[in-house]
């Protein structure tokens, strides 16, 4: 968005290794990307309990999202260090 010219001591996210940062980015971006690609799941089938795919997929994806976020949180917390 804009350049972060001055990395100060508040940027705890800069503590981790490059690989850790990439993994965190993937864990946070994949759920958001899938939700934003509405045409992917805007279909009737396959249905579940009479509910079209559009509805149940998004509800189910929330659970996957939470798992991704929890992994990202654990990784970020480890990168932050301390207790």
């Amino acid at each position: 968005m804009t350049k972060d010219s001055n990395v100060n001591n508040l940027s705890i996210e800069t503590n981790g290794t490059t690989i850790e940062k990439i993994v965190v980015a993937i864990l946070l971006l994949v759920p958001i990307a899938v939700f934003s690609l509405t045409p992917l799941y805007n279909t009737k089938g396959p249905e579940l309990f009479g509910l079209t795919f559009f509805y149940w997929f998004q509800a189910a994806w929330l659970v996957v999202t939470s798992i991704f976020y929890i992994l990202a949180a654990m990784l970020l917390n480890r990168m932050e260090g301390g207790n």
């Binding site: 968005m1 705890i12 958001i32 939700f35 009737k44 309990f49 009479g50 976020y69 929890i70 949180a73």
Partner: protein, 511 residues
Amino acid sequence: MSSAGNYELLAVFISLFVIFIGLGFWSSRFRKGDLSDLGEWALAGRKLGTYLSWFLIGADLYTAYTFIAIPELVYEKGAIYYFAVPYVGMTFGIAMITMPRLWKIAKGKNYVTAVDMVSDKFNSKTLGMIIAFTGIAAELPYIALQIYGMQAVLIVMIGQFNVTDATTITEIALIVSFIILAAFTFTSGLRGAVITAVMKDALIFLTVIVVIIVVPLEIGGFGNAFSAMKPAAAGSYQILPSLLVNGFISLSLMSALALYLYPHAINGILSSSSTKKIRLSTALLPIYGVGLAMLALFGILIYASSPALALVGKYGPVTVVPALIYAELPPWFAGIAFLGIFIGGLVPASIMAISQANLLTRNVIKVAVPNLEPKTEARLSKYFSIMFKFIALGFIFLISPTYSLELQLVGGIIILQTMPAIFIGMYSKWLNKFGVGVGWLVGMVSGVYMIYYANFVANSFPSIETTFFKFSTPFSFLYIGLIALLLNLIFAVVITFIFHAMGKGTPTNNA
């Protein structure tokens, strides 16, 4: 439901409400602190751990927005208003990045609001005041939405008794509830909201789980609900019509961006005890969204329940969830669920009013009167929190929107205009205060104009709500919040660039 059943429902409702009030007053003793200090009263002393943070932030999410506004419009308009599900899925990802950073900045400099940071970073108390008033203004329609939700429960409950004027009784009941709420917010502050939020969420989870299992079994599944609709209409319920795809995406993305700009959400974050706890509780929050998705589906399930449809016909689409519960479940359970929905409006209203009061005291009054005593500051905030609750209450006696969600979406358009100041200001010193100020002005004016245009000029698309702007191809419908924010950002960047080019750069201050 029999008349004895109605009394049973009312008895359960009132008993639980008494417990709720007791909890509210008792909570002032919870993890005791000096409640005449603003940080103690408004942030519960920054002592909240993972679970209480989860409940508190969840309380911001699980409001009348979830129980009332979204099911109402899924029932009325179909799939597009399911946008709330991707919204909650995405918003917590954004929060995981932005909020721990905000907490660290705030902790280091003892900020109580995001505006404290804006004033400091941009070295402009005027910009701070503008952002403070924007936050206060955006919360008002959101609180009004909570009151609509509470009213919806009361009207279904009171309407069952043979009283001559159910509306008046409902209004009196609302006012009495608000006086009680004002009293315990005054004494307990954010602690009262947190403790009662736990009760509220317990009742709501119970309600959602029971309803989503029992009702589909009783009415024979969602398939029956879809086939009970008029065939012509069913299309926009089963999937999203392609015309509305951009509307859906813009609503969900912008709502996701907006949530953590609201003063009440930031207030919740700042009351947490560490960044690690913020990350963990935030990561768990999409689970709350599953309940939201279920409640949204009530708007479809109701098509298979003719007694519930009859109630909605009588009291309006805003009563979709209470009507379905009343029609399909035993009275004692309906009493529990109704109370859950009722305090589901009351608790967030309290949290929102606390955050407005904080902004007004710290970022407006204290700027004008710098040597305000800390005790006076806290006391003023308490009185302001009462004032804002009653302003919002007055609001709903004056204005009646077609759909309750419009209130929240208008709030969203307003709060999004604080995004450059708060989110970008948190990360970068490049933006100039004049750029942010002009961007804000352009965003607000264009946003308000588009709301006006959509409602009063271009009423040519009555099938869709009033917070969309319609383009001819290729965008079709877009949420006004997105367009206004883009204009805001363009002006912020261009004006800043001009200032830098004129050699008047380095305007920000991090002292």
